[in-house]
């Protein structure tokens, strides 16, 4: 629901309202020549006048004299690490004097977080992570606690990168649902849209003026342009059958020869959920922390089973990743695991392009 227009000069009021409601704000900021998400106290930390240039294997930042805060496409990460922690303890075991072992859950109370500047692709990815971590046979209590304490301020995407293809997967560039507030960024401010009661509560505290038809038309045309600018696409049909019918395709060998099996793609992917668990024992042996951390199907250990590695060759790992992401996800979660964010393309050190590989293996229309 449209709430009104917020001038850029009043953006700090949004942060203040969220702070007062008890949230720590997380937002985009420029660091190490990339847009990253971290604690945001002041509006001055936002990446004003920053533009990105992304191509296969490349991410570069350019400075512009534009007044906008959100005139860039997603950097390496946004939402995923705040819900699915890259590393966290699960439980602690302690050896008592009588040889007994005591187990205790380790779960710090979740901190209310408000994430500013979430893109449509990441909202779709969040929905998929919700399905994985919350809607299976065993819900993950840590993810659940953080999810319940999350406030989302989406910003519709108006500046896609060359690597983006959310329009073809149906996940963007407009944020359709799953947010508390959504913003259209214009040169002088923001059209504010509410998506929840909590969002309405925050919007009520902002100095909003009624939006004009001209502003609405401009906002819509920017989103429309953002969709049209995208040159990459994934075949929109369900690729499961095509992929599993092509397990012996020579392209696996070819892409396996280029792939470094580094796992960058799975780290930046907003839907990848694999993680491993390991014990870290105190030096005196008195207690041990059982922790989990992100893992990747590109590692040697991922498919290790009593003395052998099932996916010993890189071509098998790439095939596992792609057949899962674009194939088996349909069986497991009712849709593809790709939301078109393009991160795996930009952050692949050798520039492997998932949209090219999918077409090479499954057929269909090439990018252009």
């Amino acid at each position: 629901m449209e709430a009104g227009f917020l001038p850029r000069a009043a953006f700090q009021r949004l942060l203040d309202a969220l702070h007062e409601a008890g949230y720590r704000c997380i937002g985009p900021q420029l660091r190490d020549n990339a847009v990253v998400y971290d604690t945001l106290a002041r509006v001055g930390q936002l990446p004003q006048g920053v533009r990105d240039r992304q191509t296969p294997g490349s991410y570069r930042i350019e400075k512009t004299d534009q007044p906008r805060f959100f005139a860039w496409a997603n950097g390496p990460q946004a939402l995923k690490p705040f819900l699915f922690a890259p590393r966290e303890p699960l439980w602690r075991s302690q050896r008592a004097a009588d040889n007994a072992i005591r187990f205790a859950e380790v779960s710090p109370p979740p901190e209310p977080l408000a994430v500013i500047g979430v893109r449509a692709c990441d909202l779709s990815a969040l929905r998929l992570q919700d399905r994985h971590f919350l809607e299976g046979n065993f819900a993950d209590s840590r993810y659940a606690a953080r999810r319940e304490n999350l406030f989302l301020v989406a910003v519709h995407c108006s500046h896609p990168a060359d690597t983006c293809f959310c329009a073809s997967t149906g996940d963007g560039p407009r944020a359709e649902q799953g947010f508390d507030l959504a913003l259209n960024e214009l040169d002088d401010g923001y059209l504010v849209q509410t998506g929840s009661d909590r969002g309405r509560g925050i919007a009520a505290q902002l100095p909003l003026s009624p939006a004009t038809d001209a502003q609405r038309r401009l906002a819509d045309s920017e989103i429309g342009n953002a969709a049209q600018q995208q040159t990459r696409h994934l075949p929109s049909r369900n690729l499961r059958d095509a992929l599993f019918a092509s397990l012996a395709h020579p392209r696996w060998e070819e892409v396996g020869g280029r792939c470094l099996s580094c796992g960058n793609c799975t780290s930046v992917c907003p839907t990848c959920f694999c993680h491993s668990e390991a014990d870290e024992t105190a030096l005196d042996g008195g207690h041990s922390i059982h922790a989990r951390q992100w893992d990747s199907c590109f590692t040697q250990g991922h498919s290790y089973i009593h003395g052998m590695t099932l996916r010993s060759e890189t071509r098998m790992r790439y095939r596992q990743w792609l057949t899962h992401k674009l194939g088996s996800w349909h069986e497991q979660y009712g849709r593809s695991g790709c939301v078109g964010c393009g991160r795996c393309i930009a952050w692949c050190p050798v520039g492997i392009d998932i949209t090219e590989e999918a077409v090479a293996i499954c057929g269909g229309e090439a990018n252009g």
Partner: protein, 277 residues
Amino acid sequence: MADPHLPQEAEVVERIQESPTIFTLRLRFTDPARHAAFRFAPGQFNMLYLYGVGEVAISIVSDPEDPQLFDHTIRVVGRVTRGLAQLKTGDRLGVRGPYGRGWPLALAQDRDVMIVTGGLGCAPVVSVINYVIRRRERFRRLVIMQGVKHSDDLIWRSQYSRWSKQPDTQVLVAADVGATLWPWHVGHVTELFGKVEMDFPRAVVMMCGPEGMMQVAVDHLLERGVREDSLHLSMERSMNCAVGLCGHCQYGGKFVCQDGPVFSYSEVKPLFGIRGF
């Protein structure tokens, strides 16, 4: 929300050395209420936690109706199992479970039952054999096929002799390498399918072991008229969480820890035998 990741303490009540590298731990939860509430089905597994080292998925081999103890038969293959082998009576470990889908025992009622195992993968199916033997009247003919690399690897040897003397029961054992006084076949267990006497089209087959062995057995059995959805296999994949979250055990669109480890052949057929899955 209860944490599905958290183990509970159990005590080693008895430890049995089955072979130089295989041992059985007979366990009881130290919390009596937890022990009383513990229920499992043959073919399900627990995550066993060795203090300070880590967890490993091991199937439960004892009878589901034994209220006293639950047993795990373990082969020493890696870091955790090597450590578990050092545990003695009275020692403690962590246990969480049971997890997964077990053997289709309801489906097998009033039908011929065939159990096929190879390598050292016999533990998960021994629970079924014992289950059937103790409830013999519920099932028809019982055929047990077991292959091992070396005759010394056959554990529970006396049990096989005892089972072979049961009425309406056929036991076929083979070792790739035999030894003096080895009473069974020398060669691959899959060479013995010609000797099986059973109502193949109505039989329920449960198998466990190396996938290469299972593939050969599946081919033989399908040829003899066993239905694809009556053939059941216990699959093994890397497991960290056992609750369908960590992603290691994915097999196409299945999570082996939740959807398996026991699958009908029709469920796994599209990927079965393809290296890398």
